[in-house]
Symmetry: C2
Subunit: 217 residues, 2 copies
DNA sequence: GTCTATAAAGGGATAGAC
DNA sequence: GTCTATCCCTTTATAGAC
């Protein structure tokens, strides 16, 4: 799986940039990402990838040795790009726990329910039995990383005396889990549209439950 | 999807029992269930199903009109069989909320983490984009049904004055979601072994959080 | 490096004998 | 109803020209 991180033709001779964002390689990945995440691994043919990339199949195979390699590349990249979009978070002093958690909860749940996020989850869940390392690396980069970040928030709220949280990591898990709840299940199982009102309600319920459960004193 | 509930050859002429548990039909389903749930829909060939069932492909197609029909049958059956195993539940008067919820939580989480349950979830998540009805029927028979059942428990605990639960369905969702949490994610994404200690800890944390959040008075 | 054309294999589904 | 043998299509992957 680690060889999927290298281009097959970049052994030692190429003057070509390895990360050229406008090269054929990037062009292929961009097109393939949409197809794989929308249709899954099995239902997406290399023919379709070639057509969508405006490249012939021979060129496609010149860049990626096999369908598996291409898929691994895409999942890895989707994984890494994930949290960049959630960076602008209030990282400093916390005003009120309720305000803070509601803001974070909203962003987090909306991120969970984004089509790309759902598609990435779906892909990883589908393929992980056949490639366990993919599952593990995704879990660590995604859910695990997010949980640790959230645990930091709870630790700060505890230090500020706003919440009595004995185990920040456990609280972070509970917060994320309640946030997802039935909404996430419905979204990843069916293709139902989730309304804004449902999201707001889920966030509010989650925050209130956490506040009551971890109220100080 | 409803025609998948009937055998193609049992229109009106057959002396054969429709539910014969030893017939070829049951034999096929038994073998196919293992293959589909282990390998997923796309990776499981009808050849493999025929081999594993000790039946020819022609016979296989005499019983099931297509691969999709067979798969739908299996998911439906797995769904329905689900709750039978959890029937022996304390349905009467509730002693202590903590004891009761801990007992239920333990059974529920162990059920979630069973290989067959995980495989069923995985299959439905994978295939639902291509067959939405499958996803919807699974959700209603599985998670939705379980949530409503759990809401009944919370309603009884409220009526008994043990908990102050304004919205039993929401509490049931939170209970189930926290129960699953990171453990379920790890299990369905990777093939990690989850220890008994982790299960116990998750159940305890969930129950304590619910008890604190919904404490009366 | 990139294309067109094709090889090679596998899988879903069926025809026809018994 | 059940089997053997086969059709036909899709898909992965490559050969050879430019």
């Amino acid at each position: 799986m680690s060889e999927t991180l290298h281009r097959p033709a970049a052994e030692d001779a190429g003057p070509k940039l390895p990360d050229d964002p406008h090269g054929k390689r990037a062009q292929i990945i961009a097109a393939a990402t949409g197809l794989f995440l929308a249709g899954g691994f099995a239902a997406t043919s290399m023919d379709a990838v070639a057509r969508a990339s405006n490249v012939s199949k021979a060129t496609l195979y010149a860049y990626f040795a096999s369908k598996e390699v291409l898929f691994g590349e895409i999942v890895g990249q989707t994984c890494r790009a994930k949290w960049d979009l959630d960076e602008p978070m209030p990282a400093d002093a916390t005003p009120h726990a309720r305000t803070h958690l509601t803001l974070i909860g909203n962003r987090l749940l909306r991120f969970f329910l984004r089509p790309e996020t759902l598609a990435a989850f779906r892909s990883v869940i589908t393929e992980s039995p056949r490639s366990p390392e993919l599952g593990r690396s995704f879990y660590q980069a995604g859910p695990q990383g997010g949980m640790e970040w959230m645990a930091g928030i709870f630790a700060r709220l505890r230090d500020a005396g706003e919440l009595a949280v004995p185990d920040p990591l456990a609280a972070a898990d509970q917060f994320g889990a309640m946030l997802r709840g039935a909404l996430f299940l419905r979204a990843i199982i069916g293709q139902e549209t989730i309304t804004d009102a449902e999201i707001e309600a889920a966030v509010t319920r989650t925050v209130e439950t956490i506040l009551r459960a971890y109220a100080p004193g």
